[in-house]
Symmetry: C2
Subunit: 216 residues, 2 copies
């Protein structure tokens, strides 16, 4: 499918389309009009048409969208038609949780991402099993990645270790970092980073709560 | 300080300013020019000036910004000059992790948010201590909130329980929900919601990785 340059805002909305279409698919819905999709997703029908037109459009006049087709096509656009292997560095509080999350989830979208290696610098953790995966020492990452080419690295180390660990990942072939450390990484342009800055999100909530209370 | 209507994009950037200014403050930096702030934050100086002008501007020509003053003012705008009490529903995988995170963090910004109650529906968890807080049954939430007025609720229950639990929170006085369940909540306008849809973020990373590889 030919693709133009897509705005970041549209890209940000795609996972949400994918999620709703996945739910519709599970419910057995075969097709849906942009109006109905608009109603359940609480965005305008014209926004939906506009967004999906970026990818060549998938709707047919008078028929609406074929849910399975649209779901699968958006999956392809998001690059989750194939399974992604991932490694994780920092088997602490969040590291444990994410390892469990990916091993236990039965959602088809989550299962597109498979955690294959856990790394830490704490020798006490070496060899322990977390969510069925053995914890390895970070120094073993280069050898591991040579045998198991992985592109996505999850970074759940403390903030003061985040930059050096991210650089170490990148030197050894990681090209995409899902960053839970509460700092902004400075990495070459040959690497993509997606930040999960939880506290930023909580501060936004605090702001919106404050604004809400002004209306009281 | 008089405030105009601020765009959502600016609001989203404020926590990042707050974070960088907090780091500068910890490093003992007393003042900073918009050019220097621009360099470390990797946004243009004109963007910084424009963003901060929304709140009346804080800079002085030829002096730059007073770091502590700017940090504190942004903290006030974000509503984190006071401490927020929070309750959490769903003491599972993520619930545990967040409870630990808030109890263990020594960061001043994290400590603006204080978890005071944990709730679950699993009777096996009743009375257990997690991160120093006793787990209560969800049915005890109304009584708890009557004695301990709390505005922020963290929602870490499974997706199929998320809507009903959120509604129950709201009926009992919660006005702001930090939602970790991977669904979009439908709540009255008198409630603010901030979603942490981790899988959406991971899908965006997958998309960006795919785009990156097209350039190889």
């Amino acid at each position: 499918m030919p693709q133009r340059d897509i705005s970041k805002a549209v890209i940000r909305r795609l996972p949400r389309y994918y999620r709703y279409l996945g739910d519709l698919l599970s419910d057995g819905t075969e097709r849906i009009s942009s109006n109905d999709l608009s109603r359940i997703m609480k965005v305008t029908a014209s926004q939906i048409r506009q967004d999906l037109n970026n990818f060549g459009g998938f709707g047919q006049q008078g028929y609406g969208y074929n849910v399975e087709y649209l779901h699968d096509e958006i999956g392809k656009i998001l690059g989750i038609d194939d399974t992604h292997d991932m490694i994780l560095a920092g088997v602490g509080n969040f590291g444990h949780t994410l390892a469990k999350y990916f091993s236990e989830s039965k959602k088809s979208s989550t299962r597109r991402f498979r955690l294959v290696g856990l790394f830490d610098v704490n020798p006490e953790l070496e060899g322990r099993e977390v969510a069925g995966i053995r914890v390895r020492m970070l120094e073993d990452l280069p050898a591991f990645l040579k045998e198991n080419p992985v592109e996505i690295g999850i970074l759940t180390v403390p903030a003061n270790a985040a930059s050096s660990t991210a650089e170490f990942m990148v030197e050894n072939g990681i090209r995409a970092i899902w960053n839970y450390a509460h700092i902004d990484l400075k990495l070459p342009e040959s690497v993509v980073v997606e930040n999960v800055h939880l506290l930023d999100s909580l501060m936004t909530l605090s702001y919106n709560l404050k604004e809400l209370k002004k209306k009281d």
